[in-house]
């Protein structure tokens, strides 16, 4: 039961980060589709059009509905914006979670994890100045998190940004830390180990640069100011990617942070590979060291992620997540989690997803049956 609760805690906040696997559509940079250049958060106009005309299926549209018409309908409330300065988006995401389906330990529940509105104000040529944020109901049951007061509504992302030219931007506000690949699966070991998951945003300042062959950024942060001061993780992080063979990206990232109880340092290398027509490979290998004030529980963990994304038809993606985690590199035990998943965008603004996760623990001292999780997810945005 305790394990079950921990799993719920860990799984509940699946969120709306960007889809790093869309490098398979030829979009290596998150800036193409998001106001936040590092991905996640609100889609920009181009991102909405891509979502409607390249990502979503068109099975349910009559043949006489052109791609141009689909693009036109991709705006907020199904129309092209009539002004240039305000963009809105509303999101709902919920899922059914089944643990060990078909076994004696089977259990299931429904969790609403996201219901929010997002708004971005933009001004100047090429959107030189932006103010962006989101606000919504807290996803239960993981709130209140560490050092946070109980609340009904919250914002996990808001920032102001200035982009003096297309190569450089600076952003200030509450944002995710720059680190590794922002895969949508926030339960991934590559997100939980370095504490860069959806409930780990921090107030800080980030820079972003983009050239033909390179993209990256550095951020300095003072923790989440809504947390009690002693829990705020203060520090810095950075990420750098290089385009290789015009299609793929390889990169590296680092993170160092601490609060009154612990210090965390992490480093990773990663690769994103475009296998064309929507198919892609994502990989990341990293190591995280956590040391505590009382030196109790200090450890260095190692993790790896390999995600393959294959698109058999427009709108449908077959994903395989393969993850490795060694919680303490000085011990022999490790876990492998592998999960096939289907991601389906039947029409624009609707995402349906089914994921199965098999977790197997390898240990000389303990052998037990695999644990299985089945997640059925619905995501709707306007």
């Amino acid at each position: 039961m305790k394990t079950f609760l921990v799993l719920i805690f860990a799984l509940a906040p699946l969120t709306s980060w960007g889809y790093a696997n869309f490098i398979g559509h030829g979009y290596p940079s998150c800036l193409n589709c998001h106001f936040n250049p590092f991905g996640g958060g609100q889609l920009n106009d181009y991102g909405r059009v891509v979502s409607a005309t390249a990502i979503s299926a068109r099975t349910f549209y009559p043949d006489n509905v052109s791609e141009e018409k689909l693009a036109y309908l991709s705006g907020f409330l199904f129309r092209k914006p009539k002004q240039d300065h305000l963009r809105l988006q509303a999101n709902y995401r919920g899922f059914s979670m089944y643990q060990n389906p078909g076994s004696e330990q089977e259990s299931k529940r429904w969790i609403t994890m996201q219901s929010d509105i997002r708004a971005t104000l933009k001004f100047g040529e090429n959107d030189k100045f932006i103010v962006s944020g989101e606000y919504g109901r807290v996803p239960m049951p993981e709130f209140p998190g560490e050092g946070l007061n109980e609340q009904q509504y919250y914002s996990r992302n808001y920032f102001v940004g200035h982009r003096p030219n297309e190569n450089f931007g600076i952003y200030l506000g509450l944002m995710d830390k720059l680190y590794g690949i922002r895969v949508i699966e926030h339960i991934a070991y590559s997100r939980s180990n370095p504490r860069v998951s959806q409930n780990d945003p921090v107030h800080g300042i980030s820079t972003h640069f983009l050239t033909k062959g390179w993209e990256g950024g550095i951020s300095a942060f003072v923790g989440n100011l809504e947390q009690e001061p002693e829990y705020r993780m203060k520090g810095a992080s950075g990420m750098l990617e290089k385009t290789v063979f015009d299609l793929h990206r390889i990169g590296a990232s680092f993170l160092s942070s601490k609060n009154d109880f612990q210090r965390l340092t992490s480093a990773a290398i990663h690769g994103r590979f475009n296998i064309k027509e929507g198919s892609a490979i994502l990989s990341e290998i990293g190591q995280t060291t956590k040391s505590f004030e009382d030196n109790n529980g200090n450890r260095t963990s190692r993790y790896a992620l390999l995600q393959t994304s294959v698109r058999p038809w427009r709108g449908l993606y077959f994903l395989t997540n393969i993850e490795y985690q060694k919680q303490n590199i000085h011990q022999d035990d490790y876990s492998v989690r592998i999960g096939p998943g289907l991601q389906y965008f039947p029409i624009q603004r609707v995402e349906l997803r089914a994921d199965a996760y098999n977790t197997r623990n390898f240990s000389n001292d303990n052998t037990r049956k695999d644990s299985w999780l089945l997640l059925l997810q619905t995501h709707i945005w306007l």
């Binding site: 078909g102 296998i275 294959v310 393969i322």
Partner: protein, 283 residues
């Protein structure tokens, strides 16, 4: 002039109802045909030197051969020759261009449908669990053995642009662990060596021009793993050798001639899952 036009009109109209052929051209215009071939090759052809009637005959022949190819997939070498002649004549350029595009598209489609053979060499990490009976005269329990192995082998595949079928095999060597601490007997073995063979049939779709594959495999896994009986002699283990069958889903993603692949299945039983991750190259 009027008579010439009417004659041509009759000829052109009647040619719609007759199946024009290169033989007909050779029969009626052999000398001109040979001359045209030479001039096309030398790029010296002057369209004004030849009659409209002959040009129309070439066009009809080209159209006939194109239709036959599109219908029966039988491509005549003369079709290419006719295309060159018509292009040199600059006769009905738009129509000739459309027919040529259709021929080219059909040739490409036929090429994409053609199955080709290739081989692969690959190395895979795989892991699976198996349940083994542990029995005494009065008690019967199951213990879980978690295995992992490295499998080295290759495959033979037949693929076109849309589908792939193949057979694969590899030799595996690895270890397993088991520990039963709740039910009697308390039993533990670590790093139990195993070796075996894995063969599989696979069928998949090719979903990108780079050759990404998604499909199913039907693997048979035969492994030998000698577990020791518990020391008290009351309990015995059953089935150290076993052939296991794991229908799996697989993906293979190429990076040039190299690829990475994964498979997992069969999603039916909590303790009977096989997965593998591997890399290799095709040749």
């Amino acid at each position: 002039m009027a008579i010439k036009f009417i004659t041509l009109l009759i000829l052109v109209t009647s040619s719609f109802y007759a199946s024009a052929s290169l033989n007909e051209i050779k029969h009626r215009y052999n000398e001109e045909h040979q001359k045209i071939l030479n001039e096309v090759e030398e790029e010296e052809l002057d369209p004004e030197d030849y009659s409209l009637e002959l040009k129309e005959l070439y066009f009809q022949t080209y159209q006939t051969e194109a239709n036959l190819f599109l219908k029966n997939d039988q491509f005549e070498q003369s079709t290419t020759q006719l295309q060159s002649i018509l292009e040199a004549f600059e006769y009905k350029e738009d129509e000739v261009s459309k027919i040529s595009e259709k021929i080219e598209a059909h040739q490409k489609e036929l090429q994409q449908k053609k199955f080709q053979k290739n081989y692969s060499l690959e190395i895979n990490y795989l892991s699976w669990q198996r349940e083994i009976d542990i029995k005494s005269p009065t008690i019967k329990n199951k213990i879980i053995v978690t295995n992992q192995a490295t499998c080295l082998g290759g495959g033979l595949h037949f693929s076109n642009a849309y589908y792939v079928y193949g057979v694969e095999g590899c030799l595996l060597t690895g270890t397993g662990d088991t520990k039963e601490k709740k039910s009697p007997p308390k039993y533990k073995e670590s790093d139990i060596p195993l070796w075996g063979i894995k063969t599989s049939l696979n069928a998949g779709m090719i979903v990108s021009t780079a050759g990404a594959q998604l499909g199913v495999k039907l693997p048979l896994l035969y492994s030998i793993q000698n577990l020791k009986n518990p020391p008290d002699n009351t309990f015995k283990l059953k089935e150290d050798h076993k052939i296991l069958f794991f229908p799996t889903l697989y993906t293979r993603l190429p990076l040039g001639t190299f690829f990475i692949q994964s498979e997992i299945g069969p999603f039916l039983d909590q303790s009977n899952t096989l997965y593998s991750i591997g890399a290799g190259f095709t040749f």
